[in-house]
Symmetry: none
Amino acid sequence: MSRIASVLERIDADLPQSLDRLFSLLRIPSISTDPAHAADCRRAAEWLVEDLKTIGFVASVRDTPGHPMVVAHHEGPAGSPHLLFYGHYDVQPVDPLSLWHDDPFDPKIKTIEGGHEVITGRGSSDDKGQLMLFVEACRAWKAVHGGLPARITLLFEGEEESGSPSLKPFLEANAAELKADFAMVCDTGMWDRETPAICVGLRGLVGQEITIRAANRDLHSGEFGGAAANPNRVLAKILGDLHDETGRVTIPDFYDGVEETPTQILQSWTALGETAEDFLGPIGLSVPSGEQGRTVQELTWARPTAEINGMWGGYTGAGFKTVIPAEAHAKISFRLVHKQNPDAIRDNFQQFVRDRLPADCSVEFHPHGGSPAIQLSYDSPFLVKAQGALSDEWPKTAVTIAMGGSIPIVGDFQTYLGMESLLVGFALSDDRIHSPNEKYDLQSFHKGTRSWARILDAVSGASA
Amino acid sequence: MSRIASVLERIDADLPQSLDRLFSLLRIPSISTDPAHAADCRRAAEWLVEDLKTIGFVASVRDTPGHPMVVAHHEGPAGSPHLLFYGHYDVQPVDPLSLWHDDPFDPKIKTIEGGHEVITGRGSSDDKGQLMLFVEACRAWKAVHGGLPARITLLFEGEEESGSPSLKPFLEANAAELKADFAMVCDTGMWDRETPAICVGLRGLVGQEITIRAANRDLHSGEFGGAAANPNRVLAKILGDLHDETGRVTIPDFYDGVEETPTQILQSWTALGETAEDFLGPIGLSVPSGEQGRTVQELTWARPTAEINGMWGGYTGAGFKTVIPAEAHAKISFRLVHKQNPDAIRDNFQQFVRDRLPADCSVEFHPHGGSPAIQLSYDSPFLVKAQGALSDEWPKTAVTIAMGGSIPIVGDFQTYLGMESLLVGFALSDDRIHSPNEKYDLQSFHKGTRSWARILDAVSGASA
């Protein structure tokens, strides 16, 4: 029997106990954004440390100005690579609680439409369920072989759902301890229930809040309308100018650093077989709204955007108030791709706004973070090995895809630890992460654990 | 002593008690647009009825489908005219409360810049303070002469600040009871602190709320941004299109029925001596923002407008949320002049929105009232008498002006009761009506009460 076959057998046999452990972690309401749950966050970190010690990790709760980190180390054979695995133990709030069919912090196994068995509860998919895959893979390996096939460091964060304020300082302060040959991040999804995916592209993000001001107070639109500048009008005009008729962003130099995606990559995305109707149908839409002549995969994975995430000004309550407000506001975000420069985007947007500001109006800008896009190699040795390992476990060959969202940790690992990441995860598009009734497929948990064992086997080089 | 001199003496002597009564009414937070304050609206109506009974009015609270009306009657001498006085006891919301220096519903006398004593509080100027002028004038007259110089009907509305939904049906149903020789409406302002004004022109108003919808739920802007329609973007584009570069409204046929103001009238407005700097300076502005090449008087009194009174969509709280919202909203109002047709304006605006609606988006419209502009005679006998009475009370001769606001009741009195209105009021341009820190000058209250007594004297014909 190969060294991996016995580990997989052990994972299968230990599944009930693995679920018990996951359920214990899921029962801790570690909502990081809510100060009332600070003690729960610490409890989750402490639970993880205790569990990791049973596997033989040297594990500790590491304080930060916010919620603590969990760091754990396990030695590997001489000459084996050093791997850093990242996950987060904090979860999103659960409101509105009334929409949950089951207690978000009392996990259950249920059978849903299609006959799929799922684990219910907040964090089941994002990210406690995914984090425990790797822990369980290590546990099985250790039980069978008495050690691990590589030197392994675990980093579990408790602030991922609340902006990760402590992460960069922690990486900087502990760079020597955390630097590995490469990182593995389990916070992404499968392509579909049969097809695992490795994510090699992530869009960057620039957030910008703007406030337009005119008169020194709210005005009566009868008394002053026609003579006084209206910040709502000014803001609408500026935001309405952000895109041209073809859906392109009109900010000067916005597309500097954007590259055309190679035809071969575009073809591989088309080969995934997902149409615009497949992608947009479930959310009640049918026509891609972005730049014309591009597929939904290209639009969401490889093209930049400018979106108005929030805007408000004047009277927004019930009924009507004929007011010309003193100010109007918007929260705007830009998704970046390839080599777009977050600082240049922000500067050019601010100039774009100032260029459109009429007499008597002023503007104030509030930045909300900025990170460049991430483009990982399609053919690094680690990726190729992981792709083979995943394809061995699942019915279909693992695909390489990109993602429209941002996972800042990947950029932080590059910046602070000089380390590339392998992004593999087993979430499904119907997992309802961040929403009521989050779930994680039992198959994702079971075969996900097996997948990480196979990846460990493949990337640690030796084969017995 | 003339019959008016003794009344004026009584008004002077009774001022402290008059203020006590006004303050009692101001303490009732009768915000008509907010359902949470429905009981307060009724309480204000009941307070007025009780107070009017003490003067000898036959007064009652009259139910409507919305907030109640107050109707009161007092007989006059045989052969005297029948006068209907209108005011409203409801007030605007007070948000944002944090900008008020004093509790909006705990009125005080304060001295402001320039040494003027003012009454603070929501409704002090619009319109409880102005409504009570006439009540106090009647009270003094009754106290001195044992009766009133004319037959008087009072009509106090509780829905003026929320679109007056019950007013027209009420006027129709009670036309025989309410029809008088002419109406007097006290909901307007002075030209300046020394110069009383009679208003002969009022802009009309069309209110329209719109909701733009796209996806069937809020979306993550990373996952769907670039492919899914964003209602905030659609709304901004539509609202940004409402005006051209010269400030003209771009809705088709919007200017149908708008007449050029006669040169003679424009000259009389110029003769008032108010510059753009005078008008805009106090609110922190300097340049008229409307159609180019017109004075601020023409822009606000004789030109139509389209204003965004409120708009909102997506995440508007602290921090940032990368959401593409399912819907976005705006409250838009049009000020109308001359013969513009409210129904046509509404229809053309709705078509304007539909013409700009991209695929996958839908729009829903909610009307919020509509009334045409009003043009009254410059030289009716009542107006001439009132002008003389006002000029007797104040340092400067009363002027005839137009107004940018809308007082739909004036059109309703024409339509349903076949009755012209005399519009006299004592608000000042720095009263901050509809805004935080609303106030009413003590002089407006005191000399306003005296003014109405003088007008009553002048228009009721006899002079003793």
